[in-house]
């Protein structure tokens, strides 16, 4: 027989006013096993507790029911009390007569009935309680502080001073938080930096504090005293062990990025420190990935890089950036079909940057100023010899890359001049061959030998070359023969191949195509052939079997051809070549219509019966595709081709012969110059790997594409793409002079400055050159660090509400001179963008009339937040004071709803501001609009009862604080809760303001709710004290109210394992005797340290093999019975 004592609390009048205590007492006395019952004004008070202890002795009680407030509130109080008695602290039940009864019911009699039921249940339950004994776990005496603002710094310092280790994690590259952005602090007006920067230094120099900047908490496991945190150290691309914090890299960086620390009021470099007093004072690089221009370039040229350098007039460096990948800046600038431009983010707002033309400018400019120079080979000379077959873009670029590495390279060219298709394929009016020659000479000057008139298979063979000591071969012979039309009469005199025709013309053997020329085909070779024939005085018609939309030729080429007078016959295909005595006279063609799309999605032509027609012609140029010339190679003993007749090689340019590599048109079939260059570079890498036995990556280092969305660009000023000047149209028709003239310096720079810096860092690598201590780590990656902690303090702070989308009536962000309070702090701050001069962002003039509007986004449940943001009244007053103080004969109008100055010296400060001349107007501004350079603010002075208007030069919106971004995610990681506005919840608004409901996790500062600096610092101290108290024990008592498995009942189904949120349950093998023999089977087992006593498993367990101690199935059933029976 148990002996239960029931103690009913009045809680002053909290319970007594809603429940007839006496009735409860009378009823309780009659419950089974209740031997004693009394009531008490304040049971939790010292005398109250004493009476319980006394009763325990006097009535030999062995268990206790206390009928009082929520167990959340005082269960622990009474457990502590019982420690000093003969009763185990867990022989206690608390009946909640306050929160769940007296406070929520109005009918006292009904409330009393409910109270009695609650007590009856508690009594029934306590009757089944058993003594529980907590076990001990050791405490890791290291604290994790998340957020390096003033709250985080103060917490860290206080814990560290108490002699414990602290890791301070900050998302930004420097600690300091919002406070260092401020200029002065109310009400004392002492300089914010002067009082917060010393704290930053103290943190960094404190032996017990480890600062981790550019870091975020990724995952947290464990429990009070024993947390494991995984922290992501984001790549900074700078080795902070080497960085000296000098600004050489920043001086070298050509990129102008948005300065987030100045809230967009100023610019900073892509490599930067957050602000001059940053801690740590080390540079970081902001890299969002690879800019689309680079990412989509087959050779991954650092387009963003040389654009950025061109923008600041550093042309030689810019050219150097191009030459990291290829010496053909001038050539590519003219003939590249620039996938970079197709993918340029500016497409989303106006036109893409003219990237190719800027590259051309770099080369032309260098030539004009005689700065084309030589390309230095820094690598150690190596003695391996490499033979390259073909001197086209692929072959020469491969030679270039190998030469840069110090290899001995010989290039064999069948034709009398080097350059491959660049030389004999592309007409002079597109590419001035002097440019080509000079850029080839750059390669020769590096020691590369080019042997022309040397044809593989005829003059040389692989065998012979191997004999001469060549260790590797790169086949890049291009695709120099034409595909056949396969129509009768094709061999007639006057039918020529496009490639042959162009070669003749380009080698200066000026062919005579005659009056009427027909070009068959729709590709770029067709366009080149047509425009060449035109310049040779012919009347040219292009015959293409599909419509213009399907033409594979570059659109610009088609336009140019048309401008120059080339005619087009679309949807027409030749059927038969008509010739009189062997000499071509006409071509019989047929009209097509477009049929179903083919595999590539191109609609295939379908002949229209009976639509045949005949065109008279003197020369017919076939330009329907090129093929690889196989004869020579075969003769040279190379016979590996794919089914298209191209050389068989894999993506890494390797053929089946270990020492033979192949790339360019010869491998891929007809493609673009830039693709050939990419292939050449890959081959060079592959060959080096082969020769050195290394396995370096074949592709250049490339981050994921950094795409920019259109709405991120909506505030970028529109600017038209630079116009390409051309020679007069008559010259274009009659001469081979280069048609496009390229940009002058002014245009090129303007063009480069249109760049929106998609990836922020342009990867120009100027910083690498500038950095004396070689600290730049271009290819650095994020790092995950795992560490144990005993306690966690969250100090993630706030940000300002994004007011623009909410307040269209205030211009919705369209007026540059309507700024936020924090932006004003930067303006008035000596280290801010204006060095402390208050100037309008729009025109950098000093505003005379300044309007300050309070409660923007706060106290506005319609558009923003319902709550009062608490600090705004005071910093509003501060801003008014600063305006009046800094701007002579200025006026300041403050629109307010109420002025809330609860704080030491606050009301006096408000008084002084009015004394300074601030005009306080009680009312909310309804509209701000621009008229004649003024910002008109319409409000009501509600004290006057009249609508009022102020013409302002600048408006400062004192906007609401909201929790800093990502706090919800963090709360999820930590398993703590947030309120509807996403502020982190404290455990109790009055009694546990810096604790959360998860033991061992604490809060400080504005992550818990809007507050000012003094309150924040006070909370920080409090949180630190809590942590220190926790760390004062070496061991902690664990909660014994955890799950317990009854092995006999457990069927080992494992359902509980899955439903345990703390991964505390696992299946383990036990051995038991069944009759004579011993059998092994699996049963659930609970890790006492991990189990948090949530009871999910107990609910899930079908055989009822799991009991949550203190809430055993038995206890709960007794409760239910007590209520129902």
């Amino acid at each position: 027989m148990s002996r239960i004592g029931v103690f009913v609390c009045h809680c002053g009048s909290n319970i007594a006013s809603g429940v007839h205590i006496d009735k409860v007492v009378e009823a309780a006395k009659l419950f089974p096993n209740v031997v004693y019952c009394e009531d008490n004004k304040y049971t939790c008070s010292e005398p109250g507790q004493f009476k319980i202890k006394a009763a325990i002795v006097e009535h030999r009680l062995d268990r206790v029911v206390v009928c009082t407030c929520s167990p959340r509130m005082h269960e622990s109080t009474f457990r502590k009390m019982l420690k000093g008695t003969t009763i185990n602290p867990y022989m206690l039940e608390v009946a909640n007569l306050r929160e769940q009864c007296s406070w929520v019911h109005t009918d006292k009699d009904k409330a009393t009935d409910k109270a009695i039921s609650l007590v009856r249940m508690a009594a029934a339950k306590v009757n089944e309680n058993t003594s529980l004994f907590p076990s001990k776990i050791k405490v890791t005496k290291r604290a994790l502080v998340i957020g390096g603002g003033i709250a985080g710094m103060q917490t860290a310092l206080d814990i560290a001073d108490a002699g414990h280790q602290v890791t301070l994690v900050e998302r930004e590259p420097s600690i300091g938080g919002k406070m260092v952005m401020l200029d002065k602090t109310f009400p004392t007006m002492d300089c914010s930096a002067c009082i917060s920067t010393p704290k930053m230094v103290e943190c960094s120099s404190h032996p017990n504090i480890t600062i981790m900047t550019s870091s975020e908490v990724e995952k947290v496991d464990g429990y009070i005293g024993n947390f494991q945190a995984i922290i992501r150290q984001k790549a900074r691309y700078v080795d902070h062990s080497l960085c000296k914090g000098c600004s050489d890299c920043m001086d070298a960086c050509p990129v102008q990025a948005r300065n987030n620390f100045d809230l967009g009021l100023g610019k900073r470099k892509a490599v930067y420190t957050l602000f001059p007093q940053a801690v740590p004072n080390k540079a970081v690089i902001e890299k969002k990935g690879a800019s689309p221009c680079k990412f989509n370039c087959p050779a991954h040229l650092d387009a963003h890089g040389y654009m950025a350098l061109t923008g600041v007039g550093r042309y030689e460096e810019a050219l150097g950036v191009v030459r990291r990948t290829t010496p053909f800046a001038g050539v590519l600038g003219r003939v590249c079909f620039h996938p970079c431009e197709e993918n340029c983010s500016r497409n989303k707002i106006d036109q893409p940057l003219a990237i190719a033309t800027v590259k051309r400018f770099l080369a032309d400019n260098a030539r004009k100023s005689g700065k084309l120079g030589k390309i230095a080979v820094t690598a150690e000379p190596k003695d391996q010899k490499i033979a390259i077959i073909g001197s086209g873009p692929a072959g020469l670029n491969c030679a270039y890359m190998l030469a840069l590495e110090g290899y001995k390279v010989t290039v064999f060219e069948a034709l009398p001049k080097p350059g491959g298709m660049l030389k004999v394929g592309i007409p002079d009016y597109r590419l001035d061959k002097a440019v080509l020659a000079e850029e080839i000479k750059l390669i020769e000057d590096m020691g590369v030998e080019i042997k022309c008139n040397t044809r593989i298979g005829k003059d040389i063979s692989f065998k012979a070359l191997r004999g001469k000591g060549y260790k590797a071969f790169f086949i890049a012979i291009g695709a120099h023969t034409d595909s056949k039309l396969n129509v009768p009469g094709e061999d007639a005199l006057g039918v020529v191949a496009g490639v042959d025709f162009l070669r003749e013309s380009n080698l200066g053997n000026n062919p005579k195509p005659g009056k009427r020329v027909i070009v068959v085909g729709g590709g770029n070779v067709a366009m080149d052939a047509a425009r060449t024939a035109l310049r040779l005085g012919s009347d040219v018609t292009v015959l293409y079997r599909r419509s213009e939309a399907e033409m594979p030729a570059n659109a610009l080429e088609i336009d140019h051809a048309r401008e120059e007078g080339v005619k087009f016959e679309f949807l027409a295909a030749p059927m038969e070549i008509i010739s009189e005595n062997g000499k071509l006279s006409g071509v019989k063609s047929i009209r097509n219509r477009l049929g179903e799309p083919d595999a590539k999605g191109r609609r295939s032509p379908v002949p229209i019966p009976g639509s045949e027609f005949i065109l008279g012609v003197d020369t017919l140029i076939k330009a329907i595709g090129q093929k690889v010339v196989q004869e020579d190679l075969t003769a040279a003993g190379f016979t590996l081709y794919d089914r298209w007749g191209n050389i068989a090689a894999n993506a890494e340019t390797k053929t089946e012969l270990a020492d033979v590599f192949a790339g360019g048109d010869a491998q891929t079939g007809p493609a673009t110059v830039i693709e050939a260059i990419a292939a050449g570079n890959k081959a060079a890498k592959a060959i080096m790997n082969y020769l050195e036995g290394t396995e370096l990556p074949i592709e250049p280092y490339l981050m994921p594409e950094a795409t920019v969305e259109a709405d991120e660009l909506k505030n970028v000023p529109r600017a038209a793409r630079g116009r390409m000047p051309m020679i007069p149209i008559q010259d274009r028709r009659s001469t081979f002079k280069e048609a496009e003239l390229g940009f002058d310096e002014k245009t090129a720079v303007a063009e480069a400055l249109r760049c929106v810096n998609c990836a922020v860092c342009s990867e120009c690598r100027a910083c690498e050159t500038a950095c004396q201590s070689k600290a730049i780590l271009r290819e650095q990656e994020d790092e995950l660090i795992t560490q144990d902690f005993g306690a966690i303090v969250v100090t993630t702070g706030y940000e300002l509400i994004d007011w623009a989308p909410l307040y269209g009536e205030y211009g919705g962000g369209r007026y540059p001179d309507v700024i936020t309070g924090l932006q004003f702090e930067r303006l008035v701050n000596a280290s801010g963008p204006t060095e402390g001069h208050i100037l309008r962002p729009s025109d950098q003039t000093e505003p005379k009339n300044v309007v300050i509007i309070k409660c923007v986004g706060s106290r506005d449940e319609n558009k923003g937040k319902a709550y009062c943001s608490r600090a705004c009244c005071m910093y509003g007053a501060k801003h008014a004071h600063q305006v009046l103080d800094k701007i002579p004969d200025s006026r300041c109008y403050v629109f307010y709803m109420d002025v809330r100055t609860a704080g030491k010296g606050y009301e006096e400060f408000y008084g002084r501001t009015r004394e300074d001349g601030a005009m306080y107007l009680r009312g909310r501004v309804a509209k701000i609009y621009q008229e004649g350079g003024k910002l008109i603010c319409k409000g009501e002075d509600s004290l006057l009862g009249k609508a009022v208007t102020v013409e302002a030069d600048m408006v400062v919106l004192e906007t609401a604080m909201v929790p800093s971004p990502g706090v919800v995610k963090l709360a999820g990681i930590l398993g703590i809760s947030t309120d509807p506005d996403k502020w982190l919840n404290e455990a109790h608004p009055k009694l546990r303001p810096v604790e959360t409901n998860s033991a061992g996790i604490f809060l400080a500062g504005t992550c818990q709710g809007p507050k000012d600096i003094p309150d924040t610092v006070a909370q920080a101290g409090a949180a630190a004290a809590k942590v220190s108290a926790l760390f004062s024990n070496d061991e902690l008592e664990t909660n014994p109210m955890i799950s317990k498995v009854i092995d006999e009942k457990c069927s080992g189904c494992g359902l509980c394992v899955g439903c345990c949120p703390y991964t505390a349950i696992s299946l383990q093998e036990i051995e038991e005797r069944v009759g004579a023999l011993r059998v092994k089977r699996l049963v659930a087992s609970v890790n006492h340290a991990l189990c948090q006593g949530c009871g999910a498993c107990a609910g899930a367990c079908r055989p009822g093999a799991i009991d949550l101690q203190g809430f055993s199935n038995r206890q709960l059933l007794e409760e239910v019975d007590a209520l129902c029976l």
Partner: protein, 187 residues
């Protein structure tokens, strides 16, 4: 003159029903005056929209029912759109107009006259008819020559029609109007 705030319960109840009709919770208003500040007609009002609310908060119904403000309101709804506390001021103004009409209080007679004419216009044609409308308004309101200068232009450009187009089923329209106006004041 001093105002007594010991408003009779009956009046408070009346106010209650009125604001309920407008779905307005008076206590939500903290008198910031954003409604007044944005009100295009505020200059012409005897008391500001904010003060209309304030009077009701204080239980001063009579003052509100006899003020011009609720009649000067142009129903542009700017106040309601911008109110930080979701007080539908415009709707309240409308309900107050209706209440005043019920009590035959029309402090700005012209506005009321126009409404009446407009409605009788609909009663007779089923569609509103600008000439009849303006002409009869000018007569009734005594502003005989208001906007007569515009008339020639209207005529020359055939912007007015003298043979009013009417709905076929006039009776239907009338029946609806009469039913609707039962309770409200007959136009």
């Amino acid at each position: 003159m001093e105002i007594s705030l010991n408003t009779p319960a009956a009046t408070l109840a009346e106010i209650g029903t009125i604001v309920d009709k407008a779905h307005v919770e008076l206590h939500k208003c903290y008198q910031c005056g954003k409604c007044t500040a944005g009100c295009p007609m505020a200059d012409s009002m005897d008391i500001t929209p904010r003060e209309v609310i304030r009077h009701l908060q204080l239980g001063l119904l009579a003052e509100v029912l006899r003020c011009e403000a609720v009649w000067v309101c142009a129903s542009c709804h700017t106040c309601s759109a911008r109110c930080p506390n979701e007080v539908d001021v415009a709707h309240l103004m409308e309900v107050l107009r209706q209440e005043a009409k019920k009590r035959n209080i029309t402090p700005v007679p012209d506005v009321d006259k126009f409404a009446r004419i407009f409605i009788s216009n609909i009663r007779s044609f089923g569609k509103s008819h600008e000439v009849v409308l303006c002409a009869s308004y000018n007569v009734w309101s005594g502003h005989l020559f208001q906007d007569v200068m515009t008339f020639p232009h209207l005529v020359m450009n055939k912007l007015v029609f003298f043979k009013p187009h009417v709905v076929k089923d006039k009776t239907a329209v009338r029946r609806i109007m009469d039913k609707a106006l039962k309770g409200a004041d007959k136009a």
